[in-house]
Symmetry: none
Subunit: 357 residues, 2 copies
């Protein structure tokens, strides 16, 4: 009875991305949806809401018996029996690299994520991440900027976008890749759901690259789950004064591959011919923006004093021998020029757009 | 005949640091010196110059048959049969950590070298380095600032200081540790000699810590030689945008221990009880002293909240229950009083006794 109502609600599908809908196989989706809602739980209203969402364009429930259900995922024990998908489900079978990290990443960290994503996308990898602020969003954006495929694995129902300000980003991802969730519609962003989301993200991927993560963070959980699933775990190191490098350093100490360049990622994934990929994220050719104008000698001295880790005002005064007032005004200028960013705690750091040194 | 001339030149020795001199065992030093000058080479003028230098105060030729010749060195194949030493030769048998890195290090890199050297010296390690500019000099200075022992292994004759501007530093090292070379007097700074110098440096040490090194650099050679000699190889990571982190990252990829803190060094060296050494270079506090003077109760609460590790403002607000504004003003007061210092990354810590920063 319920199935009939739902079939009516689901309506006709357009396009090729068709999975299980009530219209295709009346009665069946309810059984799949009930499994996603939790064993033994009866939530007819929730299932009705799921089906209503599924009736929208470009949406489907991709079930484990569908040939398009990613084989890589099917091989991992405990993977969800079905996935809510918005976008092209076939892309889920693309070789993927997951790029994850801190929500409160530094600008330099976000740039690194963007760069790696763009370059890996150009190498044919889909870039998988979690649609979160910080590293995740930068990774999705990097893949999109390179005209590549990106997959957002969500910890909420796909009728919700979390964080809400990523609505437009989510739409772009659905258009150029796909949004995926194992959670029924209306599932809010609950902390307890994120480990499951992370497990799905690493399950879809050949490897997980961590860029900026605090000592205790969800990114480290993702990385550990990835290791358990036999996925390659990779981490980008940073200054020992950057608290967001500590999680990455922990992973490297525990055996993760230290990654400086896209070549390192390809090598870790055992990709053939990775030697010929000469462009690297750390060398900043492809996407580097070069700020205009020559630097005066004090500004250059200041950039040199700044080095490549964060430094506070006192330290910069000490290193340059300039007056604090002069250091501050030069920092502001460099910040306006996009060469320097100010971080939490009164620290300053170079941006990656630092070809002008 | 030659031996008699040289014995006359060497003259009487004062002080306790006496090794082989012509005066002690006529004829013998010439044989040792001839070995240092190269097999089959006859250089009477050079040997005369050596003996003249050796006649100076606090200088000696430490030969492999001397009980003070470091046992650790004697165990390594190919080590020099004798060493020119200025300073206390007994200190050469101290457990040593070599700290090496780029001559053109960043300010942050030099600070890290200084810090690690000071903290490791306080743990009882002699700090061994190569008297070069950049990381080497910072390491020597850090050990000196902590009142520790430091050993400079030179790639020139000890009658020369290279670079020349390290003359005063060399004198301080000779007074608080020792200068060592296997090269006869007047040996200039030749690139071909530095690998031998580096091999001696790692031979003397239990482990080699590399801080900032370019992809191709002498520090990497030192590290490789150290590995061949069974020494622990350790490297400090950095931003992937710092070209001087690349050598360190190369080493870590090749199996070197990734080092963020002094604790990491102690762990890599298999030091017992390193867990109890709660203070580390990045966590501060080893040199913690509690200056006198009465504290008001909020300030005392704040110091207690600070504990002996670093903490950020948020953490201190959380721990004390005070308003952020109040915590900031009290921190500034405590900083003026020298009880608290602000660290990189917006962290605060109780003061350390570090000097000369």
């Amino acid at each position: 009875m319920l199935a009939i109502d739902l079939a009516a609600m689901a309506g006709p599908r357009s396009g090729e991305n068709r999975g299980v809908t009530a219209a295709d196989r009346p009665g069946e989706p309810v059984a799949w949806l009930e499994r996603l809602h939790g064993p033994g739980e009866r939530d007819p209203a929730g299932i009705a809401r799921d089906l209503a969402w599924l009736a929208g364009p470009g949406r489907m429930l991709l079930t484990a018996d569908d040939p398009r259900y990613p084989g890589q995922l099917a091989a991992v024990p405990g993977m969800p029996p079905a996935l809510f998908v918005e976008g092209d489900p076939v892309l889920l079978s693309r070789p993927q690299v997951a790029i994850v990290g801190s929500r409160s990443a530094t600008a330099a960290g976000r740039e690194i994520a963007f760069d790696f994503a763009a370059r890996l996308a150009a190498h044919g990898f889909a870039i998988t991440s979690g649609l979160a602020a910080g590293i995740d969003a930068a990774a999705h954006r990097g893949a999109l900027a390179a005209g590549g495929v990106t997959i957002a694995v969500c910890g909420t129902g796909l009728d919700r976008v979390y964080p809400a300000e990523h609505r437009e980003l989510a739409d772009r991802i659905a258009a150029a890749g796909s949004l995926v969730s194992e959670f029924p519609t209306a599932t809010p962003p609950a902390a307890s759901n994120f480990p499951r989301r992370n497990r799905l993200m690493s399950g879809l991927s050949r490897g997980v690259l961590v860029i900026e993560a605090a000592s205790r963070s969800g990114s480290l959980i993702t990385a550990r789950l990835a290791g358990d699933q036999g996925r390659e775990v990779m981490a980008v190191p940073g200054s020992i004064h950057n608290p967001l490098a500590r999680g990455c350093h922990r992973l490297i100490k525990d055996g993760a591959a230290l990654v400086e360049t896209v070549d390192d990622v390809l090598a870790a994934l055992g990709e053939p011919g990775h030697e010929s990929a000469t462009n690297s994220a750390s060398e900043g050719g492809l996407f580097a923006k070069i700020p205009g104008g020559p630097l005066d000698s004090d500004a250059e001295m200041l950039l040199n004093a700044l080095g490549f880790g964060p430094a506070g005002l006192d330290r910069l005064v000490e290193r340059t021998g300039l007056a604090a007032r002069s250091v501050i005004s030069k920092l502001q200028l460099l910040e306006l020029e996009g060469r320097v960013e100010s971080l939490a705690g009164g620290q300053y750091s170079r941006t990656t757009a630092r070809q002008g040194r």
